[in-house]
Subunit: 210 residues, 4 copies
Amino acid sequence: MSKPITQVPPQANSTVLADELIAAGALFHRRGWVPATGGNFSARLASDRMLITVSGVHKGELTRNDFLVADLEGQPLEAGRKSSYETGLHAQLYRFDPNIGAVLHVHSVANTVLSRGSDRVRLQGYELQKILPGISEPQVAVEVPVFGNDQDIARLSRQVEAHMNKRPLPAAYLIAGHGLYAWGETITQARHRVEALEFMFECELWNRGN
Amino acid sequence: MSKPITQVPPQANSTVLADELIAAGALFHRRGWVPATGGNFSARLASDRMLITVSGVHKGELTRNDFLVADLEGQPLEAGRKSSYETGLHAQLYRFDPNIGAVLHVHSVANTVLSRGSDRVRLQGYELQKILPGISEPQVAVEVPVFGNDQDIARLSRQVEAHMNKRPLPAAYLIAGHGLYAWGETITQARHRVEALEFMFECELWNRGN
Amino acid sequence: MSKPITQVPPQANSTVLADELIAAGALFHRRGWVPATGGNFSARLASDRMLITVSGVHKGELTRNDFLVADLEGQPLEAGRKSSYETGLHAQLYRFDPNIGAVLHVHSVANTVLSRGSDRVRLQGYELQKILPGISEPQVAVEVPVFGNDQDIARLSRQVEAHMNKRPLPAAYLIAGHGLYAWGETITQARHRVEALEFMFECELWNRGN
Amino acid sequence: MSKPITQVPPQANSTVLADELIAAGALFHRRGWVPATGGNFSARLASDRMLITVSGVHKGELTRNDFLVADLEGQPLEAGRKSSYETGLHAQLYRFDPNIGAVLHVHSVANTVLSRGSDRVRLQGYELQKILPGISEPQVAVEVPVFGNDQDIARLSRQVEAHMNKRPLPAAYLIAGHGLYAWGETITQARHRVEALEFMFECELWNRGN
């Protein structure tokens, strides 16, 4: 929060970021990770601003018009437009850590099935864990916590915040029956983490019962 | 049935609707949901008219010539052309509810496997359930009924009608070994429901035996 | 064999057929059904001629140069070119039934896994069975026989012939650990049958052990 | 190592090879085999040179700038650029066998799951085994060894070398939780082997527990 407001022209910046989010959405849709109107994406525009997908659009077919600017309390700064109803979860992350530059939320079959059965997903022995922050050795276990699904987003975001104050997250958490939130300093880093996590979740799905 | 006939030029309208159905078919084919000549799609043209795919064409490679106009008894209004043999199931839905604007029928591996084993598919705890009518809370259980497959489409459509008169459907039903019928007020809404339902069915497939 | 030679200009004809087989190969590759150089495709050019893929090429990236003309003993009519080593299996089918116009051989994960475990794959209760010859009712069981894999193609083709003389095949057979042969009067019909069979095989794969 | 340096202009050569590796990467990404920044690809430029992907790039979205030239000790010949940290594993293969022209490393769900559970993957009865060197008969069992994952690449490459000195490999090995290394005389041959191996691994995944 103490980081000064970025001086790049906000309009140019937001177009570049929107185009990157549009491309991420098209990729995720080909993978089956943003069915129907599920998922939402955001990127930090400045220390106190984010660009986020509007409510109710298909995340695999986004256009530049499908984004709005919101503050870090989750309030849209454009009159008459409604952001994704989970905007508060994005805002919590940007407030919590000024180094977070992008947050991607996706629904995959693997993350949905795994998140319904447990309060955490434990990953160990995967080379791809190394893409998560602070992991240089695949033998270290990583735990992605699963929060219960809650239609009260303010309450859910306080639960996430309380958890993050106790122990650092592996740049990701799950919501039961609902999907993955993953983040990074850039959209590219966040996207790579989504790809790596979804890959490991799919491996775990095949491992169940074996 | 009492809704007045829409006044838009029917020809322009049907081209727009056909193009949307063509795009839905291409997407569904990439997903593997319309193998061979399986599936069929329709959209309401007016209170007493629908546009529907002709018989025997591949639903992933549709052209504007692969549609015909039929009345809501399922009779083609163009001489010499044959509509999908399941036209009667589409007609039943448009007659039953004037708010239905599109009906999409797809065969997926998930819906086929699930529909062969049970008389209903129960969905509970999925965030994506909220895309179904009247569901604002994922914890509410949704039941998608499975009707037995029947080559007598008139008899099958009466069975669907009897069920719908008893209790509302979640904008969808299954036919055993045959696939999903899902609908919405618009083609877009119907497509989103197909995506959400197929996603949840795939999750259920992974959950069997666990 | 008694059907007179088709009078269409053979060169034009073979280009059209090659283009259809190229498109089928691209589709099958997207589905994962022609890995590496696996699979081979052919179409009848005349009562005593077929067009068939040459040996060793990738079936998902075919060009017009990747085909040759062979007689129905499987002998290439172009000096210095080698047809797929399984040409004899295609030739047996064209000799056996003059109505066969196209033969497609694919390797899918589903057909490979199922064919390794049994001497037949039994399909029953699938609406898509109706795309197979003589099936108008999904409740009728269809059996796709599995022949043991044999590097002696002449011997394997005699085994297929002996089986076909005893009972008609559902326009398809499997070779253990090797894949599906399916056919039709046209390339389109053969392709639709491949799509329908692979769909049902995938359903069967999910059903094993349940 | 005694093979004379190839006389083709190295610059032209490396562009052609880069373009082939870029195409392989795009295909592998569509298949889900190079998630995040996982995987790395190389091709031999001369008896003592290889072209290899730089560190940290996405292998499904490679450009010509994402490659560098290294010697066969794995040292980049371009100042200031860093090759994939597993360059030593590529170098070991090129040093070991002068006929190796390309090495492809991919992470698939199938190879990751299988490699975590065993010290080898045994393949038998698959027609596609014939694409591996020295296999003309699918009934011969092929064993793909699994090496333990080790962040000390020099040590891991010595372990591979010791194994290869004892018995020939089927142009492929696995690293536990990390992925497949496969090679061939050309990029095309290596790519076909990756496709065939991944296909057989996927079949094995379905066979587990049955």
